[in-house]
C-alpha cells in the first residue's frame, strides 16, 4: 500500500515537472512551430524508462521512477491532441511531429535499454 502511494506521488511530481517545462518552453521557444516542450519531455522520458527497464527489470525502482515519475512526466494524450491541432494548420509539420516523437521515442527507448 505504501509503495502504491509513493508511486502515485512520483506521478504527481512528474506531472508538475511536465507543467513547468511546458510553461517554460511556451515562453522561451514560442518561435518554434512545433510543440517542443512535449517533444523533449516524451523523448527524454522514453530514453530514461528504456535505461530503467534495461537495468532494473521488475524491481521497486522501476515501479517508483518508471511507472510513477516517468508515467506522470510523459504524456500520450497531449501528444495526440497536438498532432490534431497542428494538422489543421500545417499538415506536413503535423506528420513530421508525429513521426519524430513516435520513432524517436522507440529508438531512444531501445538505445537506453541497450546502454543499461
Amino acid at each position: 500500500m505504501m509503495i502504491t502511494i509513493l508511486i502515485c506521488l512520483a506521478g504527481a511530481i512528474g506531472a508538475v515537472c511536465r507543467f513547468g517545462i511546458t510553461q517554460l518552453g511556451n515562453r522561451i521557444f514560442n518561435w518554434v512551430p512545433l510543440p517542443l516542450a512535449t517533444l523533449v519531455i516524451n523523448l527524454s522520458g522514453a530514453f530514461a524508462l528504456g535505461v530503467l527497464a534495461g537495468a532494473f527489470a521488475a524491481t521497486t525502482t522501476i515501479w517508483l521512477v518508471g511507472s510513477g515519475f516517468m508515467g506522470g512526466f510523459t504524456t500520450f494524450s497531449t501528444f495526440s491532441n497536438e498532432v490534431v491541432t497542428l494538422f489543421n494548420k500545417r499538415r506536413l509539420l503535423a506528420i513530421g511531429y508525429l513521426a519524430l516523437t513516435a520513432f524517436g521515442g522507440v529508438l531512444l527507448a531501445a538505445l537506453g535499454a541497450s546502454l543499461a
Binding site: C8, A10, A15, A46, G68, T74, T75, T78, N81, V84
Partner: protein, 128 residues
C-alpha cells in the same frame, strides 16, 4: 499559479493511481490496457480542453488539474515506447508494429473525434 500547481499535483496523483490500478488489475493484458488508456485519454483530453470550459463554469486551476494533471498522468508515452521495444524483442515485428501504429492511429483519431464531438456540443448549446 500556485493553485494550478496544487491542482495538477492532486489530479496527477489521481491519474497515476487510476493507470496503476488498471495495469495492476489487468496485468495479464498489459499492452491492451496501455493501448486503451492512451486512446481513451486522447479522447478525454480533447473533450476536457475543447468542450468543458465552454459548457461549464470551471476555474482555470481545476481545468489545468484535469487536463495536465489527471489525463496527462493517466496516459503515458514512455511506457508506450518501451512496450514497443519489448514487443519487438519478445513477440516479433508484427505485434510490435501493430501496437505502435495502432496506438498512434487510434490515439490521433480519438483526439480528432473528441474535438468534433466538442464542437457539436458547444454549437448545440449555443442554439438552444
Amino acid at each position: 499559479m500556485l493553485k494550478r500547481i496544487i491542482a495538477i499535483f492532486g489530479f496527477g496523483f489521481l491519474g497515476s493511481a487510476i493507470r496503476l490500478g488498471l495495469t495492476t488489475l489487468l496485468g495479464t493484458h498489459h499492452y491492451l490496457t496501455i493501448f486503451c488508456i492512451n486512446v481513451l485519454g486522447s479522447l478525454l483530453l480533447a473533450l476536457i480542453t475543447q468542450a468543458l470550459p465552454r459548457l461549464l463554469p470551471i476555474s482555470p486551476a481545476i481545468l489545468s488539474g484535469l487536463s495536465v494533471g489527471l489525463i496527462g498522468s493517466f496516459t503515458t508515452f514512455s511506457t508506450f515506447s518501451v512496450d514497443t521495444v519489448t514487443l519487438m524483442q519478445q513477440a516479433g515485428g508484427l505485434l510490435a508494429g501493430l501496437y505502435f501504429a495502432g496506438s498512434l492511429f487510434c490515439g490521433c483519431l480519438a483526439a480528432l473525434w473528441g474535438r468534433q464531438l466538442s464542437h457539436k456540443w458547444v454549437e448545440g448549446r449555443r442554439f438552444q
